[in-house]
Symmetry: C2
Subunit: 215 residues, 2 copies
């Protein structure tokens, strides 16, 4: 049995849920509450699973895997159908780069632990935290829109006619963008990809509002 | 011909240099000065190559690839020997997760653009910027040390007896850790891996101090 530890609103856990749904691979969800009791992810029991004290953590027979993109590549290698990356090598690199533009250069900057540091250690008010998030998400998504324009977008999804790693990263990041009130009108390619994704049951069932720990 | 645009001190460009050296694949280096004239990476000429305005950007026949980890996976797929990832799927996932723990959760937080924002937009003094970097690098590397302890480290390198993606990310991050004065004495596994790497010409030749744009 595969156990996925995550949090309903975590982008990284949301990515994994979409990927498992697209593959049709069943998994058991175990919620880790990032706010309750100072953060369950910081307790020794969870750190034993993931020393980074971040979600998600995937438990498979005798092994623990961390980092959402590594988990999704593992899933794609162990369950190749349907593929989550293009076949062409340059296209694979572009799809991975798009995913990493989100997973490396947007999401970590607006993550809970960073906002907590800005608030607690640097004493910044909520308005500064909100502006911080809007800055990094807005700038990052604008670059993603340009990356899609350059790729030419031959299908309904980011890199072709079926959803893959890039789409899996985009949809949770746009969910987060909505929470922070980012204006997406100048990003028609991103919002069209999201519409194509959200029409699929694999994406719909992974939505934060439909998780057992949703608040 | 392969052209790598980067900056001598950029961790992400440093990773690519190591990977190309390990593969024995020749490339032309084109420096992009991140500080000169407000930052060459922000100019339209460079944004046309990488809309993220970040280094590196790789130019190959008719294609432009971005994001260091995507570039390194592309290199590993197009030039499989020597491999940069373990063969075993769980091990591959652990090596990728280690690389991403650095590339997603440490490096982007101490990157130039984030420090510029803290200084210019939030008016924070240099001491706060230094503490910020020490916090995220120190916490992140401690988790990396724990990830290596758990993996058991069967060889001299992070995940085996030859260097790969994890080592390629670790060495530049430790270079940066030294710049910010991080105490590495509680991280004996990381420093042992670094010593094994730095004994190799591929790593030595990629060092920031040996680049044409080094200052």
């Amino acid at each position: 049995m595969i156990t996925l530890r995550g949090y309903f609103r975590s982008s990284a856990a949301y990515r994994c849920r979409i990927a498992f749904n697209l593959k049709g691979v069943p998994y058991e969800l175990v919620p880790v509450h990032l706010r309750r009791d100072g953060g369950e992810q910081k307790k020794p029991a969870y750190r034993a699973l993931n020393p980074q004290a971040l979600v998600p953590a995937l438990q498979i027979d005798g092994a623990i895997l961390t980092q959402s993109l590594a988990i999704i590549e593992w899933l794609d290698e162990t369950h190749p159908d349907p593929p989550l990356l293009p076949v062409d090598r340059n296209e694979r690199a572009r799809a991975r780069a798009f995913a990493q533009a989100i997973a490396c250069d947007i999401h970590p900057l607006q993550n809970l632990r960073v906002l907590d540091y800005l608030k607690t250690e640097l004493g910044q008010p909520q308005a500064v935290l909100d502006a911080w998030c809007r800055h990094w998400i807005g700038e990052g998504l604008s670059a993603c829109e340009a990356l899609l324009a350059r790729a030419g977008q031959p299908g309904s999804f980011a890199f072709g006619d079926r959803p893959g790693l890039a789409d899996i990263c985009l949809v949770p990041q746009l969910f987060s963008a909505d929470r922070f009130g980012i204006d997406l009108t100048a990003m028609p390619r991103l919002t069209a990809v999201r519409a194509a994704c959200e029409a699929l049951p694999a994406f719909a069932a992974a939505h934060p509002s439909r998780q057992p720990d949703s608040e």
